[in-house]
């Protein structure tokens, strides 16, 4: 009985690598879209669709980084604070007169460095990812508030030239959506078709075995936190462009959103299973859900209850699926 089941499962899996639950998630997404169309005439309004895509992109970029981390059985609670530090730094550098390319480069480097600190603590220090990134989360927020003196930092006159990143559009789609598309595309390629990608899955599913097969587990682990930090800083740049301020409180809570998106997308918190495709769909599902509830005028408090229920539901579904496959 076990053999044929596993074969069909594997065949299904091969087609949707990164979607361990097969095509199920895609149907949920499509179902939600159809439901939304029925529930509100505004849903298919091009402006609304653009808004939803933009929301997917804004949270999706950080979620891609989170997926990399979770695939190695780690977690990054500090992405929100890294976003905050980078938002403030972006604004401060712009006000100080740095050229745009210099600001972008500097901020991205800061994101990578903060991620590297996480990585060092986890690999060399042996600190569990939860604790290390928790500490970084608290420290980072404090750093952001210190740099900003507790106030949002306005980019003032530089707003006009910096606008295109968060508020511009190309070929009808917002720039952040294009950035997300590129980020996701590169991530999918790396995870599926490179040795490095395979190593990430190996480390996540069984670090000991990966080590014994010659994979440098420490290096792989270290690198995914740098990726997460990098993508957080990229998102910070977009945020600042959109709001024309660098807020020290920017990104508060985004780590939980990213984790929710990644988990709903089918990436297992136990590592080694899942992928970017699932994350994209997870981001889509949460964005459309929030959008429908907004369009229906559902109270924001109720929205939170629903969102939490969906997250628990998705996790339950994954657990049940695991139990079934064990038989």
């Amino acid at each position: 009985m076990a053999a044929p089941d596993r074969m069909t499962e594997t065949a299904g899996r091969k087609f949707f690598i990164g979607l361990p639950r097969g095509a199920g998630l895609v149907w949920v997404l499509i179902g939600l879209c159809i439901l939304a169309t029925f529930l509100s005439p505004s849903f298919l309004n091009p402006v609304n669709v653009t808004n939803v895509l933009r929301q997917v992109a804004l949270f999706g970029i950080v979620s891609v980084g989170m997926t990399f981390v979770i695939l190695t059985k780690g977690i990054d609670l500090s992405v929100g604070s890294i976003l905050g530090v980078c938002s403030v730094t972006t604004a401060l550098l712009l006000v100080a007169g740095w050229t745009m390319p210099a600001v972008v480069a500097a901020v991205l480097v800061i994101g990578v460095l903060m991620g590297a600190v996480n990585g060092l603590g986890i690999t060399l220090g042996g600190i569990p990812p939860f604790i290390m990134t928790l500490g970084m989360m608290v420290m980072g927020r404090g750093l952001a508030l210190t740099l900003a003196n507790g106030q949002p930092v306005s980019i003032g006159g530089r707003a006009a030239e910096f606008m295109w990143l968060g508020r511009g559009a190309a070929l009808g789609l917002p720039v952040p959506v294009w950035i997300f598309a590129i980020v996701a595309g590169v991530a999918i390629y790396v995870l599926r078709y490179t040795t490095y990608g395979r190593q990430i899955y190996a480390v996540g599913s069984n670090a000991e075995a990966a080590h014994l097969s010659g994979i440098n587990v420490g290096l792989v682990t270290f690198s995914v936190y740098m990726i997460s930090g990098f993508l957080a800083s990229l998102t910070a740049l977009i945020f600042v462009s959109r709001l024309t301020v660098g807020e020290p409180t920017a990104g508060t809570g985004i780590e939980l959103e990213a984790i929710a998106i990644t988990v709903i997308g089918g990436t297992s918190l136990f590592g080694g299973e899942g992928g970017i495709l699932g994350t994209i769909i997870g981001a889509g599902i949460l964005a459309i859900l929030a959008n429908i509830m907004n369009l229906l005028g559902i109270s924001p408090f109720t929205q939170q209850i629903v969102k939490g229920a969906i997250i628990i539901g998705a996790a339950l579904y994954e657990m049940l699926g695991k139990r079934r496959s064990r038989h």
Binding site: L39, V47, N48, R54, R242, L243, E247, T249, L295
Partner: protein
Amino acid sequence: MKKRDFLKSALMAGAAVMLATQVMAQDKIKIGFSQGTMNHPWRVAMVEGNKAYAAENLPDVKLIVTDGQNESSKQVTDVESLMAQGIKVLMISPLTADALTPVVADAMAAGIKVVSLDRKVNTDVTVHVGAENTPIGVAAGKFIAEKLNGTGKVIELQGTGGASVTTDRHDGFTAALEGTNVEIVAAQNCDFLRENAVKFMEDQLQRFGPGQIQAVYAHNDEMALGAIQALEAVGRLDEVIVVGIDGQNTAFDAIKEGKMAATFVYPYVAPEGMEIAYKVAKGEAVDPIIILPGKQVDASNVDEMLGKGF
């Protein structure tokens, strides 16, 4: 499979009901109300007051309310979402001026009339309604300077950083203190929240021993009440006078009990916000700036204000 079918039919049934109500609501005037946060009774009073007014008096209005949950980026998204739903008028109480300016400018450019409530943005809107905060700050400064006979040390508990309200209440206060020997020895952004004020005050009361602080100026009543809590805990409430702003019922009670020295009624822009938004939607001429009057409440007149706040 059975579960899936049941779920599908339940969803369809729900959808049908929703669709029916949507169709019936088509011919109403759509007005969007973007609130920055609902983490404070003053904000809740603003939303509930305007909602109640619309429900009772404006049957031809469909009011859509969103909550920014204390995050500027969420509020920007909320406004974008409201715009996508085809609102005619946008009522907005922005969390911070800068972050919401671009999207409000977009709304104005798209022909949507904008009514800003309480806090301002840095771009032209159709109407701004609110009380003036600078005069309140000045009045608070004068009150404290008088009570302290011109000399003393004050702790300032500030509101949300980057909000026009905070800037005005601070600037007015410091302006009134010029030329006196009253100085602000510590100030902190406590985001208008009681918990933050309590934490900050507890630490400051350790830093400044007994007799070293004579007054506390809080940008709102919640923070003032937090300061009172911290002062009572170390038994130093009788040597410090506490001033707040807003006009909460709990603040009036505290003044009556002698715990708080004064507060300044700060109208929560309801139902005025809804009234003005409706007029604007109907195309009536409205003054671009509408100032709502405030009022100083202290031990001398608190009796007549008990229970009249929010």
